[in-house]
């Protein structure tokens, strides 16, 4: 019992690399520390990770499960070596020679109240998109100009880098530990997360509602089997429901002409996260124009 810290030195052989991967990514092995009966706890960095990103943002994230495992492993390796978060980010940024207008700003997760260490678990691995680097942009062109530049030139671009491209430092050893492991390949894709749509920004007022996309379609079809496929049909159905609600509420209070004006000003937009449709990114936006 008690707290403390330990410095871990790792000679990176193929064997030790595999052991680390099993410890921190697949979790098929556990650390055994002499004299300690419980597993040591890991805290990679801050525990107050912001859960929701409500502003437009640019992120670099692994686009496949394999890439995410590689990213998690890279972070675990850096942290095992006592490397600070800022140094990890600098290392990533250093490898991105093409990106001159933006900077890697932070490592973050989308999990509420979740330390990034918890993402190094079996459950965390299956949750795609929960680990990313946030990108900060700014400069003489202003943020909007740079955002346009990034969208035009880099959106959905994949960046492959090797965070440990130098060879292992040669150290004298008394015994042959096997072939040395070098390199720490990483592939990150750049995505633009525009939480506010252009129509929302242009509207007089808007109500943004978070939805579960597949649940929404199922529920809407339950009483409208012939609703039709696609966004347009779904948006039309939702718009009709909102207009009925407004008619019900305002009908007794507004003249027919005014009520009709309100109804005609309304519109519905459904937004989906590019790629994976999930709970946090799919939204219904009720617009008043």
């Amino acid at each position: 019992m008690g707290t403390g810290s330990a410095t871990i030195s790792i000679l990176r052989t193929e064997a030790s690399d595999k052991t680390l991967y099993d410890l921190y990514v697949t979790r098929t092995k556990f650390l055994q520390i002499q004299g300690q009966h419980s597993q040591p706890t890991w805290h990679l960095h801050r525990s107050d990770s912001v859960a929701e990103i409500e502003e437009d943002s640019i992120v670099l994230e692994p686009s496949s499960l394999e890439a995410k495992r590689g990213f998690q492993f890279a972070i675990a390796m850096h942290r095992a070596g006592g490397v600070a978060e800022t140094d990890i980010l600098d290392n990533i940024m250093f490898r991105l020679a093409a990106a001159g207008l933006w900077q890697i700003a932070e490592l973050h997760t989308l999990a509420k109240d979740t330390c990034m260490a918890s993402l190094l678990t079996d459950k965390g691995q299956g949750r795609s998109g929960l680990i990313r680097t946030g990108v900060d942009c700014g400069g003489e062109k202003g943020q909007q100009g740079i955002l346009s530049h990034i969208i035009m030139n880099h959106e959905n671009s994949s960046f492959t880098m090797d965070l440990m491209s130098t060879r292992n430092r040669l150290m004298p050893h008394k015994e042959d530990l096997g072939p040395q492991k070098t390199g720490l390949p990483l592939t990150l894709s750049l995505r633009i997360l525009q939480q506010s749509t252009q129509r929302e920004k242009m509207s007089v007022a808007a109500v943004t509602i978070r939805i579960h996309y597949s649940k929404m379609v199922t529920m809407l079809r339950a009483d409208t089997p012939d609703m039709g496929d696609g966004h347009a049909a779904t948006e039309a159905k939702l718009l009709r429901r909102f207009r009925e609600l407004i008619t019900y509420c305002l009908g007794p209070r507004l003249s027919p002409d005014l009520l009709q004006s309100v109804l005609e000003s309304m519109d519905v937009e459904i937004t989906l996260f590019k790629g994976i449709i999930n709970w946090t990114q799919s939204r219904i936006i009720l617009l008043f124009n």
């Binding site: 007022a205 943004t208 929404m216 309100v262 219904i284």
Partner: protein
């Protein structure tokens, strides 16, 4: 020229957000709940039961309005980093949150009919408020 002032439209948006965000089984508050995914047409005779309020079907992210920057509904309607259940309004919020309480009051200030009548007929007992 706009037919309604910005404040009026924003108020309607806030009231609709409250209707979508509310989660309460108290009868007078339950009647406010509106889910665009499940709510039978408000003018039809389709009825629901108290158990029908979907826990996670819809939650509110924000309300925005032009020219006022982000005119957002404050906590608890808005998701927060450390909130356990965000984007919803509970009966307790109606008591403790001044904005939620005000919105609730205006929504239920229907000048004709009665709450009991509305409840019996299966409709929602709401009326979006107009700014005098």
């Amino acid at each position: 020229m706009d037919l309604f002032p910005l404040g009026q439209v924003t108020l309607w948006a806030l009231q609709i957000a409250l209707m979508i965000g509310i989660r309460s089984h108290k009868p007078e508050e339950y009647l406010l709940h509106y889910c665009p995914l499940t709510r039978y047409e408000t003018t039809s005779s389709g009825l629901s039961s108290y158990q029908d309020i979907p826990g996670e079907a819809c939650t509110i992210v924000r309300v925005t309005a032009r020219a006022t920057g982000d005119s957002s509904i404050p906590h608890p309607l808005l998701p927060t980093a450390k909130g356990s259940s965000t984007g919803i309004v509970t009966g307790l919020d109606i008591i403790n949150d001044p904005l939620a309480a005000l919105l609730f009051k205006t929504l239920t200030s229907r000048s004709h009919g009665s709450l009991m009548y509305e409840q019996a007929s299966g409709g929602t007992a709401v009326a979006l408020a107009r700014i005098p």
